[in-house]
């Protein structure tokens, strides 16, 4: 039973990350990129995808519109938006829709 539950959780998490990657690509208009091009753990900012502070605000809008998660403090947001992995984990814990 435990193994089964973990399996469900993992596949759910994988689906969420794939959906999230698709949403990130659309929201930031990362033309030519596919979800599989984004590594779960690669940093989204700085050297990773080369995103900037305005992208981070756009990603917070993505979280609010799609998952009902409102982050008021941009500095708090930066922690959540470390990578697709950290975003997905935060969504798991805080989503309201």
């Amino acid at each position: 039973m435990i193994i089964f539950a973990a399996h469900v959780f993992l596949s759910f998490m994988e689906d969420l990350k794939t959906t999230l990657k698709q949403q990130i690509i659309e929201s930031l208009n990362l033309q030519g990129m596919k979800p599989e091009d984004i590594d779960d753990n690669a940093p989204l900012f700085g050297d990773g995808l080369g995103l900037d502070s305005i992208d981070s605000l756009e990603l917070m809008v993505l979280l609010e519109r799609n998952y009902g998660i409102k982050i008021e403090d941009a500095r708090e947001g930066r922690k959540v938006l470390g990578s697709v992995q950290t975003m997905a984990e935060y969504i798991q814990q805080h989503r309201t829709v």
């Binding site: 305005i54 605000l57 809008v61 403090d73 941009a74």
Partner: protein, 401 residues
């Protein structure tokens, strides 16, 4: 180069209508921030704003237009009320008979009305009363209406460089006079609070719900405000010839660009440094000559760090009194440059420097702190006023006694 003087001003801000009310509030450290009464927004009770304490109807009455408010927006009304004060110190006939410029500034024109009617605007075929506001969406609308209202045929220009707009208007007016294109210039700006701007800055997550804390380690963001401010500029000899009182000299100015990022200043303050340095050079002054800096000081994380570092670097061992008055008025955007230019003139006249309200904790990255109290009987000879905007548009003005 002949000296350019300020021979009249007009101001309307959250601190009040006219010079007297603004001076009293500054000296008594009375902030104008409050929850808005006139702005309609779902966020109205969330954000402290520097709203002007007049309804549109009250402002229309002040300028005698209550029967004729066709297409008149809050942006224009703020402008007319402020200009009316300025006009009190000059014979209107002089402005008609001799070449004059009206250099106005706005960031969003009549958005305060446009946003109320936009769905009607864009519904094909729909007609109605809203049509009167269509042309108010142009920034130049308030400029043209002001010229018409005061019966002037000036060289008109409207500038929009975000938060430095009206500081740029002051520079443009001075240059037109220096080169003899006009004899006098009325320069300033106007911006009314609107949902567009409030939600815009809120989308940048840099609006503080409480009173803003410029140059403070715990600062979170800005408070928005509204208002209008105008300065009458002319050559010293022309002001003297008509027996006008000289309020201040416009000693120098500079406009330069950060060329760093669409909205954020260069983190080391290089852009602010360059602008302040050029303004000093233009005024033929040394850093130690400046008695007070009315900083841009929006209380956003980025601005205050960059501006603070630039002040620290440029003024080194001799950092003058500096403060941001944004916690008094809120950030009045296109009007800020002119309103703070007028505060700089008040500083010279009153020999006072104004408190940087709400300051408690020095910033980690700075070794300097703003003046925390309003100080009177301070020798003030030269004041620098900074205005830095999106698009890296930086302006510093220097006013002298």
């Amino acid at each position: 180069m002949e000296k350019i003087v300020v021979s009249s001003v007009g101001i309307l801000s959250a601190l009040g209508c006219g010079m007297h009310q603004n001076i009293q509030a500054l000296l008594q450290k009375k902030s104008g921030l409050h929850f808005p009464v006139h702005l309609q927004s779902v966020h109205a009770q969330e954000f402290l704003l520097g709203e002007v304490n007049f309804s549109n109807e009250e402002m229309a009455m002040l300028v005698g237009l209550q029967e004729n408010m066709q297409g008149l927006t809050r942006t224009t009304l703020l402008s007319l009320v402020a200009l009316q004060e300025l006009m009190g110190k000059i014979d209107r006939a002089l402005l008609r008979d001799e070449p004059v410029a009206l250099i106005n500034a706005s960031t969003v024109g009549g958005m305060c009305s446009v946003e109320d009617h936009y769905l009607d605007f864009i519904e094909p075929g729909k007609r109605g009363d809203f049509i009167q506001y269509i042309n108010s969406s142009d920034c130049g609308d308030s400029t043209e209406r002001a010229a018409r209202y005061f019966g002037l045929k000036p060289l008109m220009a409207t500038i929009s460089t975000a938060c430095s707009s009206s500081a740029n208007a002051v520079i443009m007016g001075a240059r037109l006079i220096q080169q003899g294109v006009v004899k006098r210039a009325i320069c300033g700006g106007t911006d009314a609070l609107c949902r567009f701007t409030l939600n815009g800055f809120n989308s940048l997550k840099n609006v503080d719900k409480g009173p803003c804390r410029p140059f403070d380690q715990t600062r979170f963001g800005l408070n928005l405000g509204e208002g209008a401010g105008y300065l009458l500029l002319e050559k010293e000899e022309d002001a003297k010839a008509r027996g006008a009182e000289i309020l201040a000299y416009l000693g120098g100015y500079a406009n330069s660009n950060d060329a760093y990022h669409p909205t954020a200043p260069s983190p080391d303050g290089a852009g602010a440094f360059r602008t302040m340095e050029q303004a000093l050079k233009h005024a033929k002054l040394q850093p130690e000559d400046i008695s007070y800096i009315n900083a841009h000081g929006t209380a956003t994380i980025n601005n205050d760090a960059a501006e603070g570092l630039a002040i620290q670097q440029l003024f080194a061992e001799k950092v003058p009194y500096f403060s941001s008055t944004k916690a008094f008025t809120g950030h009045t955007l296109a009007a800020a440059g002119a309103i703070e230019a007028i505060f700089s003139i008040i500083s010279l006249q009153q020999q006072a420097v104004f408190a940087n309200l709400n300051f408690t904790t020095p910033m980690e990255e700075l070794s300097i702190t703003p003046v925390t109290d309003t100080l009177e009987n301070v020798p003030v000879q030269h004041v620098m006023s900074n205005s830095f905007g999106f698009g890296g548009n930086n302006v510093s003005l220097i006013f002298s006694k």
